[in-house]
């Protein structure tokens, strides 16, 4: 605007445009929130409905035509393995995250920091590992799982899931490490730290957002995985949420709809809450990983 005179008409035009922009923003925000969360709202309503209310075509499905009931939540907790499935999902997830960090952090450090001539090619090779999909591997992996004596045990998932999470994590961490200036580390080594000392004391704290991104990503991938869990494990007590809930609450043609819906909401809300706490760090980690990797 240098050298131009701003008239009142200009100002009004900008104000109008600004207001229109805000209205559009709120409209899109509300529509997206409804589209994304709508099924969960519907699930929450369904959870507390009595059968008589649920299975009558003429009833308005969005209101309670009969008194709400807790029976179906009671069924979920007291007469199915829901708590066991949730617990299995949690500890498998935590172990997978730990294994992922233990394997991918040194690997990423090696590729990003210790300039080897093969570093770049190795980085791309690891990225391509991500292209090998579970649907291609589950047949031979289920053979391997049997050979290891891990069939029908949750431990098979602990062993196999890092194959999905490690390549992504290495790739994210390489990008992130590249943004931390090398001088910081060299200075620490001049000051008397060993390389390992410099890595732990100086680099690791700066890497924290990247680590958060990896933890969140690895955990959500693990909790959501379906194919391996379905192919490797059949006894109920060893199942995770993804496979346990459908098999216990769908018996032949009979769907226990209210309890199924309850389980979706009960799992969705806590994970989403935790995820939101870390969202900004996750995005920071991803920016560095994706753009500069």
């Amino acid at each position: 605007m240098d050298g131009l005179v701003v008239t009142d008409a200009d100002r009004r035009r900008y104000a109008r445009r600004h207001r229109a922009g805000r209205i559009a923003l709120y409209a899109v925000a509300v529509v997206s929130a409804l589209a994304a969360a709508g099924p969960f709202v519907w699930a929450a309503i369904t959870t507390f409905k009595q059968d008589r209310d649920l299975y009558r075509r003429r009833n308005n499905p969005f209101v309670f035509n009969e008194t709400p009931t807790n029976d179906h939540i009671d069924l979920l907790f007291n007469r199915t393995g829901f708590a066991t499935f949730a617990w299995n999902t949690l500890w498998v997830g935590v172990l997978v995250v730990l294994i992922t960090l233990a394997l991918s952090l040194p690997a990423a450090y090696s590729l990003a920091r210790l300039d080897r001539p093969w570093g770049g090619r190795m980085g791309i090779a690891i990225f391509f590992v991500y292209l090998v999909p579970p649907t291609l591997l589950f047949l031979s992996l289920s053979r391997l799982v049997v050979a290891l004596g891990l069939q029908d045990s949750t431990w098979s998932l602990v062993v196999i899931y890092p194959t999905i999470t490690v390549p992504v994590s290495v790739w994210l961490l390489i990008g992130f490490l590249k943004t931390i200036p090398k001088d910081i580390e060299e200075q620490a080594m001049v000051d008397g730290y060993s390389r390992l000392g410099a890595m732990l004391r100086v680099v690791a704290p700066l890497l924290f957002p990247g680590l958060v991104a990896v933890v969140v990503f690895a955990f959500t991938l693990t909790a959501s995985e379906f194919i391996y869990a379905l192919a490797f494990i059949s006894p109920s007590a060893e199942k995770v949420i993804s496979t346990g809930v459908p098999t216990e609450l769908v018996r032949g043609d009979v769907f226990f709809w209210q309890s199924l819906q309850a389980s979706a909401v009960l799992v969705a809300v806590p994970i989403a809450l935790v995820f939101n706490l870390f969202l900004d760090r996750f995005i920071a980690g991803f920016t560095q990983g994706a753009v500069k990797g």
């Binding site: 509300v30 929130a33 490690v166 993804s242 995005i283």
Partner: protein, 302 residues
């Protein structure tokens, strides 16, 4: 005692080459054992007559491939896989972009909107798909109820029973689930654009669409391409939505390669054929990935 230990440490830290391999080898060994070996095994299975009932390995050459190529369901699944991936990706990129723009803006209630919008992605896909299964129920679907009450339809839609509607439903659920992830990745891209570039353009009088097409989209193109790549791989090889929602039905109208490989290989116990179908995915994935990575590199140089 302390002097030699100190010396040894010095020597190790001086030798980056050894250290590099030491750090890298656990991940490499792990990947070779649990991705490389099964991958080779998958190729071997596809050339064998291994079944669930008869695990002995007999070489049959390309017989499995001949049999799947002769099977109309395979071609149906292949076509469906492409339709499913192409349509989903287009919608995911467009909606993801819109959503990313909303989520980085500053407004009241942003935290709540973020929380609600991310729910589809943070929920294990099997559970959220079951919620959809109930929403699309042939008799009690609330969507049908609304349409009926509004007088738009007379009888129910039978979302999962009519071929085109079933495909549309599968795509809708898949898009619904992946848009949040795409939005988060694109937010990262948007936030990485230097602020002064945007501000300068604003000062120079560039309008919203002009800024969008001449600054935002070119600068975020690599990130959009990468999220598209991730999403395409995810979509191309995913079968959970199909498995839970339609089991490939009605009469294989929504079958994709991944689900067909699962039904053949695990539930039908024909491991050789299942492996051959699954293996068919790989060259297609490789070509797509190389194309996209090349495009990204060219953009970064240009």
């Amino acid at each position: 005692m302390s002097a030699p230990a100190h010396l040894a440490r010095r020597r190790l830290s001086d030798r980056d080459g050894v250290l590099a391999w030491l750090f890298l080898s656990p991940a490499v060994v792990y990947i070779l054992a649990l991705v490389g070996l099964p991958f080779v095994l998958a190729i071997a299975f596809s050339l064998s007559d291994v079944t669930g009932g008869d695990p002995s390995f007999d070489w049959v050459g390309l017989q499995n491939f001949e049999r799947i190529f002769a099977d109309p369901v395979f071609w149906r699944s292949l076509r469906n896989t492409f339709v499913f991936t192409a349509v989903s990706m287009l919608l995911i990129v467009v909606f993801g972009k819109v959503l990313a723009n909303v989520l980085i803006a500053d407004f009241k209630g942003r935290w709540l909107v973020r929380f609600l919008v991310l729910l589809p992605w943070t929920t294990p896909v099997a559970l959220s798909t079951i919620t959809w299964l109930w929403m699309l129920d042939s008799v009690f679907s609330p969507i049908d109820w609304v349409l009926r009450t509004a007088g738009l339809i007379q009888t129910n839609m039978f979302w999962l029973g009519v071929p085109n509607l079933a495909m549309a439903s599968v795509i809708a659920v898949h898009v619904w689930r992946l848009v949040p992830l795409a939005a988060v990745i694109m937010m990262a891209g948007l936030l990485s654009i230097p602020r002064d570039v945007q501000e300068q353009a604003l000062v120079d009088g560039a309008g919203y669409w002009r800024r969008m097409f001449e600054i935002t989209i070119p600068l975020t193109a690599p990130v959009i391409a990468i999220s598209a790549l991730f999403g395409a791989i995810f979509t191309f090889t995913d079968m959970t939505v199909v498995y839970v929602l339609t089991r490939g039905g009605p009469t294989n109208e929504t079958q994709v390669l991944a689900s067909w490989a699962f039904f053949r290989g695990i539930e039908g116990s024909d491991i050789g054929q299942g492996a051959a179908i699954a293996l068919f995915l790989f060259p297609l994935l490789l070509a797509a990935a190389i194309a996209i990575l090349r495009a990204v590199r060219r953009m970064e140089i240009g």
